[in-house]
């Protein structure tokens, strides 16, 4: 099994890892310690002190509040979306492309969906305006709660790490 340095994992998260190492990562059995190195790398990048529990996207995390020990979904700008078990999208800002004019701002005529059939729902962080997700369903589709991780089992049984303390 291959192992990788913190610098290599940092380069990976920045899209700057050399191709030889990337190929090794792709072809060799997975390095189980990647997760803890990854957390270290990401923790050094966020401007807040709360402990990252699980990354959810390039800007989105489940983090343990330094003050309350509650687990919350949190943008790297510091904005909090509430309890980690809730669907963070319900507490985001949304912009829906549901007519040809607004669709034309993202794709040339004929290359965008017909908005009677399908809309683009863009979810932004209400504080920093980063786009965290784009849903592309039919009209009327419920907002999808797309991931409910079993963090306790993952930490204690799969990567053999102590589960961070959780209040509430």
């Amino acid at each position: 099994m291959s192992t990788y340095t913190k610098q290599q994992v940092k380069n990976l998260t920045e899209g700057k890892l050399d191709w030889d190492t990337t190929m090794r990562m792709l072809s060799m059995p997975k390095d189980n310690e990647r997760f803890s190195i990854y957390l270290d790398v990401l923790q050094a990048k966020v401007p807040w002190k709360d402990k990252i529990v699980l990354p959810l996207g390039p800007h989105l995390y489940i983090a343990q509040s330094a003050k309350t020990k509650q687990w919350v979904t949190k943008c790297d700008c510091g904005h909090e979306f509430g309890d980690y078990r809730e669907n963070w999208k319900l507490n985001a800002a949304i912009y829906v492309r549901d007519n040809p004019e607004t669709m034309r701002d993202v794709y040339p005529t004929l290359m965008a969906p017909d908005t009677e059939w399908q809309v683009y729902r863009e979810y932004y962080c209400p504080e920093c305006g980063v786009m965290l997700d784009v849903e592309a369903p039919t009209p009327w589709y419920p907002v999808i709660h797309d991931f409910e991780p079993d963090i306790e089992a993952f930490y204690s049984e799969w990567v053999n790490l102590p589960v961070p303390e959780r209040a509430g």
Partner: protein, 781 residues
């Protein structure tokens, strides 16, 4: 003498009967039932809690693996040279698979490995329906199957299945499949549109005995060749399959001669249990336990006048809906539940449960289980729930399947995203893939070709669409298709020999890749001019009004499809007089550039109707084959300025969208070279983010407005029909929908209230209702 001979013959037959095909007195069904039982009670395939051979003699086990797998791959490579069809010979649309006597897959070759399960389903169908007593299963027999109601993906995948006997007993089966160029369906091309039932889908063969003593039967040869439009390709495809199967049968005989039958048979079971364990350990090694929910959709726009169906009740617009909940448990087992999926429909995009479950391994081998050990172990390691009556498990024997891939490819995009989500969270960014392109357009049609023969065409350029963006890099441009990991767009020269269609352009498709920090791979487009054909027809098949993929984590879906065709082009005269011609790319479809180089009175269709049926084409008519791009990853405002400049200079991105979507401040020098002003771009992007928030609403505010639209019923009928079919099949989905939108208790949406034909909504008849038919059910329904 005569008496003696017949007596000894009788005695021999009696002996065979006592021992049965397996030499142990069991029927094949008893044998298979016992394996299923042991698997169910112990949780290990065939009760194999211990892998005796693998544990006691690992080197011998690996030797068996290498010989068999190497032989399978080699047989595929050798056999494909027999074929004349570019689909097989150039694109590699074939696959050979080895099964144990119960029809469970032991190992497979490279190629269209969805057929790991489909040919196994055919073998199981023969077992469950007592093929051993009638028509009999003997050494030297061949069986042919392409029946979509018992597991095949679509009728153009023709399978030849050969039993393997050693020392007088059945030890396994080998199956070979090729994607043929025509199936004699309602219209030419292997995956025709227009028919809306099985009865128009083409020549359908149900596990028929088509050869004895290693020779195809003459009635079969005569009947099958006249059942299709392209008999020359058909017969060479069959020879390809037979040759491959026989090579593999010989291989198994050689391996048994060297290693002994006992070791071979042990291997043929242990390797499946090893595959099951391998999947579980990969799930634990790569994913995160928990629940993942995703959804996917695609359009079936049949109300349009350019779609001609034989049945009036099929002339409606519908939408495929596929929600999925993936539950990865802490013990590494997992369950894929498709509750809420829409009903099968009157079109040719339905899928059998096995096409669905077997097919996902084509995808999984590209990330989750990137090993050579693809077999039924992965199936035994997965719990599938495909509700009966949905498009992926129809409950009516009339369903059409000619292009099941329209739904399969679209539906699976949801699973890519779910798995990629877990890879991202775990730090395995190198494995993240936002999804797969909708692998279309399919250029198909036929008539009299440049050689004066009846012909059908089915361009496989779709095997090179854009791939999804990753979390560390862009997707690959015009590179792959989800259904064949080794696809190839094929040489222009070969296609021009196979099709009376001259290339006027072949270019990467601008703006086709989904935007993001990393963009989806772009697709490509080829402009074809009809040349030297007679009585020619063509049609389009792909997504147009909708996207079937979504982006990930802030990335956009790829561009949708559109259609361009032109008739009465005046190109003959323009060529004679040396006038300008439409050449190269349709860079910005809004500008309609091709139209500047054809007759002003030409009849042009430039729209989003990407599903059509056979239309007439004259020589010098034009057809644009646009192959889709892949979806993007991450916020496009974070794309590197150099990457934007590179895309602009390679004609992969229109300047307008560098500004609007990427927030780039760009300029072009005297030589036409684009560059991005990094400093101004940073400031501009900050403004873009502010503008986003200015136009956005809190999600809960928007939900109130959307709820109002639901209450007044503001949506097109196609959308309502989709929900109505999902609701009718799944009270759970209806309940969740009503809860989410906080709808009144009595709110409902029924198909019969929609003022469109609802054939199939109430009255359906499953294949299992036919007398003497025992269907094989391989999923929870």
């Amino acid at each position: 003498m005569k008496t003696d001979a017949s007596t000894s013959k009788k005695t021999k037959a009696a002996e065979e009967l006592v021992g049965g095909l397996l030499g142990n007195g069991q029927t094949l069904k008893q044998y298979r039932d016992a394996i299923q039982d042991r698997t169910k009670t112990t949780g290990f395939y065939n009760g194999l809690e211990r892998l005796d051979l693998r544990e006691s003699d690992p080197i011998r086990y690996e030797k068996l693996f290498s010989k068999l797998r190497g032989g399978l791959v080699h047989s595929r490579e050798t056999a494909k040279k027999i074929a004349a069809s570019p689909i097989v010979e150039q694109e590699g649309e074939l696959c050979f698979t080895l099964y144990n006597a119960a029809g469970d897959c032991v190992l497979t070759s490279t190629g269209i490995i969805i057929h790991v399960g489909t040919m196994g389903a055919a073998i199981k169908y023969m077992i469950e329906n007592d093929w051993e007593s009638n028509p009999g299963i003997n050494p030297g027999d061949m069986f042919t199957n392409n029946d979509c109601s018992i597991g095949n993906v679509h009728p153009c995948d023709i399978a030849t299945i050969v039993p393997i006997f050693i020392q007088g007993k059945l030890v396994g089966w080998v199956g070979g499949v090729t994607h043929v160029i025509d199936t004699g369906s309602i219209t030419p091309g292997s995956m025709s549109t227009g028919q809306v039932q099985r009865f128009g889908d083409g020549f359908m063969i149900t596990c028929r005995k088509t050869g004895v003593n290693d020779k195809p039967l003459r009635d079969w040869l005569h009947e099958s060749q006249r059942a299709v439009r392209t008999p020359k390709y058909w017969i060479l495809d069959e020879k390809t399959r037979i040759a491959g199967c026989h090579m593999i049968r010989t291989l198994v005989e050689e391996v048994v001669a060297e290693e002994g039958l006992e070791a071979y048979e042990k291997f043929a079971f242990e390797v499946i249990e090893e595959g099951r364990r391998g999947l579980i350990s990969r799930l634990k090694a790569m994913t995160i336990p928990g629940k993942y929910r995703k959804a996917a959709f695609v359009d079936v726009p049949y109300a349009h006048p350019d779609v001609q169906t034989p049945n009036a009740f099929a002339k409606i617009d519908t939408i495929m809906h596929q929600p999925v909940e993936i539950d990865i448990r802490k013990d590494g087992s997992w369950r894929l539940d498709f509750e809420g999926a829409s009903r099968w429909g009157w079109h040719s995009y339905n899928a059998h449960q096995v096409a669905f479950t077997s097919g996902i391994w084509v995808m999984m081998t590209q990330t989750l289980v990137p090993t050579q050990r693809i077999n039924d172990g992965a199936y035994y390691g997965t719990e599938f729930r495909l509700p009966k009556g949905t498009w992926m498990n129809p409950d009516d024997r009339r369903t059409g399947h000619a292009y099941a891939w329209h739904f399969l490819v679209s539906g699976w995009s949801a699973m890519w995203r779910a798995l990629s989500h877990s890879y991202f969270s775990r730090g395995y960014l190198e494995e993240v893939n936002s999804g797969n392109a909708n692998t279309s357009n399919w250029l198909q049609g036929g008539g009299i070709n440049q050689d004066g023969e009846i012909h059908a065409v089915n361009s496989f350029e779709a095997s090179s669409c854009g791939t999804g963006a990753g979390a560390i890099k862009d997707g690959l441009n015009h590179a792959a298709a989800i259904w064949n990991p080794e696809g190839d767009m094929g040489d222009i020269e070969i296609w021009e020999m196979a099709e009376p269609l001259v290339y006027l352009g072949r270019s990467a498709k601008c703006n086709s890749g989904g935007y993001g920090k990393y963009r989806g791979g772009t697709g490509f487009e080829t402009l074809r001019m009809v040349w030297n054909a007679q009585d020619w027809t063509m049609f389009f098949m792909g997504n147009g009004y909708m996207n079937s993929d979504w982006g990930m984590m802030g990335g956009y879906p790829s561009a949708t499809g559109y259609r361009f065709e032109a008739h009465n082009t005046g190109l003959k005269e323009r060529i004679t007089y040396g006038d300008t011609l439409p050449l190269g790319a349709d860079t910005n479809p809004a500008e309609a550039g091709y139209e500047n180089h054809i007759n002003v009175r030409a009849k042009v269709k430039r729209d989003k109707q990407c599903m059509t049926t056979e239309d007439c084409y004259e020589n010098y008519d034009l057809y644009l084959n646009y192959l889709r791009g892949g979806p993007g990853f991450g916020d496009p405002l974070e794309r590197e300025p150099e990457a934007i400049a590179r895309d602009l200079n390679n004609n992969l991105l229109l300047p307008e969208y560098a500004r609007k979507v990427h927030g780039a401040v760009i300029e072009q020098d005297d030589k036409g070279v684009w560059s991005v002003d990094v400093k101004k771009t940073i400031a501009n992007r900050a403004e873009h983010r502010k503008a986003r928030l200015a136009r956005a609403l809190p999600t809960r505010e928007w939900m109130k407005k959307e709820r109002d639209r639901i209450l007044i019923g503001r949506a097109i009928t196609a959308v309502k029909q989709m929900y109505a079919t999902s609701f009718a099949l799944s009270p759970k989905f209806l309940g969740e929908f009503k809860t989410f939108w906080n709808l009144p208790e009595d709110w409902t949406l029924n198909e019969e209230d929609l003022d469109i034909p609802t054939y199939g909504s109430k009255y359906r008849e499953d294949l299992s209702k036919l007398p003497d038919v025992h269907t094989v059910v391989l999923v929870e329904e």
